[in-house]
Symmetry: C2
Subunit: 330 residues, 2 copies
């Protein structure tokens, strides 16, 4: 009887998830089983400094909570870019946020709402969400990769996020696949992010298209962007590839091979077998996954080869939000 009652109470309870990005702050009401019940978005105003950003978070959460009983709210979970300390609730150096060194985000939010507040790196939040409710649900251990504007990720060990000794683990985008290669924004050379991130893929496609135009041949991709090469982005490259465009197919196949090289190195060191890929570019056609997995299989150490899998994430854009909320629900 007691158990039943608890379940009933639990049913009305919810957590608030906050997914803070440099352009948008997304907040959501999330059920104890990871479903999004209600959502709200606002401009993050990342260029205006931390005080304004925190106001935007507070305003968005207030907006959502105004529609429900605050006593049913179990707490607020926040996913932030940058180096996040889950211990003291601070966020350091989130990229593309102005005048931000180290800010105690959790404290500010807690002061406002007076309910439990948890905070975590945004990529880790997405990894946690995929582990609990998404593509990783059947795997105890896996590597989560966010493939989008940049390349990031999270490491799930024994169903928990591995934060590393200082909270900065999982920087998968900054595995160098060529010590003498392209210079990355981070200063290092050959980082996988600098080969397969959105900007590079779009730029590379543009260059190849321009070369092809000089040859006088035509491209599906060119039609898709109406001849405006600045409109090229991975979703259109994927679309063109699905329609058989050879440049698009080559670029995505190569990106898969390179990602596979970086993944093989990480899987060798961490003794992992499963990779879940999320982020904008993870919507790429199946042949890209084939390319990644072939590359991993041909490169990984023999004793690590058995059971290697590379699969698509399931939660799409909402992984960060759901994962943030699930910090409260754990």
């Amino acid at each position: 009887m007691v158990e039943e009652k608890t379940t009933m109470i639990q049913k009305n309870k919810f957590a608030v998830g906050v997914d803070l990005g440099a352009t948008t702050v997304k907040v959501g009401i999330v059920s104890p089983v990871g479903g999004i019940i209600d959502q709200f978005s606002a401009d993050a105003k990342a260029g205006k400094g931390p005080v304004v950003v925190i106001q935007q978070i507070i305003f968005s959460v207030q907006e959502l909570l105004s529609r429900r009983k605050i006593s049913d709210c179990l707490g607020i979970g926040i996913g932030c870019p940058g180096v996040v300390s889950t211990f003291d609730g601070t966020v350091q150096h989130p990229p593309n946020f102005a005048n931000w060194t180290k800010v105690d985000v959790a404290k500010e939010i807690r002061r406002e709402f007076k309910i439990p507040v948890f905070i975590e790196n945004d990529a880790n939040c997405a990894a946690i969400a995929e582990a609990r409710y998404g593509a990783g649900i059947e795997f105890k251990d896996f590597l989560f990769v966010i493939w989008g504007t940049g390349v990031g990720g999270g490491i799930i060990l024994d169903r928990k996020i591995f934060r590393g000794p200082h909270g900065g683990a999982g920087e998968i985008g900054h595995i160098s696949i060529d010590y003498n290669g392209r210079q990355c924004n981070c200063g290092n050379f050959g980082c996988i992010e600098s080969y397969i991130g959105q900007r590079y893929l779009s730029q590379r496609t543009k260059e190849l298209l321009q070369a092809r135009v000089r040859d006088g041949s035509r491209s599906i991709l060119e039609t898709l962007v109406d001849g405006n090469y600045d409109k090229i982005e991975p979703v259109l490259i994927s679309q063109a590839a699905e329609q058989g465009d050879s440049i698009a197919i080559n670029i995505l196949t190569e990106a898969g091979e390179l990602l596979g090289s970086a993944l093989a190195s990480i899987l060798n060191v961490l003794d992992l077998r499963v990779v879940v890929i999320g982020g904008g570019i993870s919507a790429a056609p199946a042949f890209v996954y084939e390319s990644i997995i072939q590359s991993v299989r041909s490169r990984i150490l023999k004793p690590h080869k058995e059971g290697v899998r590379v699969i698509r994430a399931k939660l799409g854009n909402s992984a960060g939000l759901v994962g943030a909320a699930s910090l409260v629900l754990s």
Copy 2:
């Protein structure tokens, strides 16, 4: 009083450590504080199959135990190459051991001596030893690298070895630093092992020396090997470098830079700051460490840069043995 007595009893107690290599099996009597009290070595007979290898281990342990009271022996710890299951005591595919697929080494040794037997990967044993008694003693978390014939290692997290989900973590030598680079023995391309392992360093030095001879110039290294280039090995390259030989200096500096590139990638992913380097080549001159650390510092992510250290291991050749014994002592 009780505590004192325990310490006294503990004083006479010891553990046996076994360090199984493809050429030699080394066994030692190790005190509870990690000191080697007595040692014995025998041919591992790795070419003769697992039955003979296990006989060699048993014989060596018997030899050592015959000089002491077996009731004082707390147990036997064994370090083995290959994929070692600490759970069921099996060893799979140790490189350079003939006719060896999967062998239950722990069971065989336990049957003979009827005392507790523990088993672990040899690189992990060395990492554990450096963590408990060596250069890693002051660090909770670090990466241990064995730089010798090959490149291996172990990951220490919160003072414990990180084995990974299948017991195969720490394969640092098979981080690729160039997806399009030299083919490694493992089949992958650009593995750091294939650039800085003993064989490659010796071969590269030989080639450069031969080119220099054609120029008519002289080299300290040439004198050291009496003109016999097949005698070139890292210890002599280090010696020549210390005497100012420019080829030797260049080769070791470059090796340090390349190792630094691989290390930066791993430190980025694992959020580690400290690297302890053991193995034969770790005896290289200080300028090699300078080269490694400069490479790591210039390549690692900015938020990970603070506190980065690359230091020499302390226990030398006995790390494997002491670490194996310490499996019993933990």
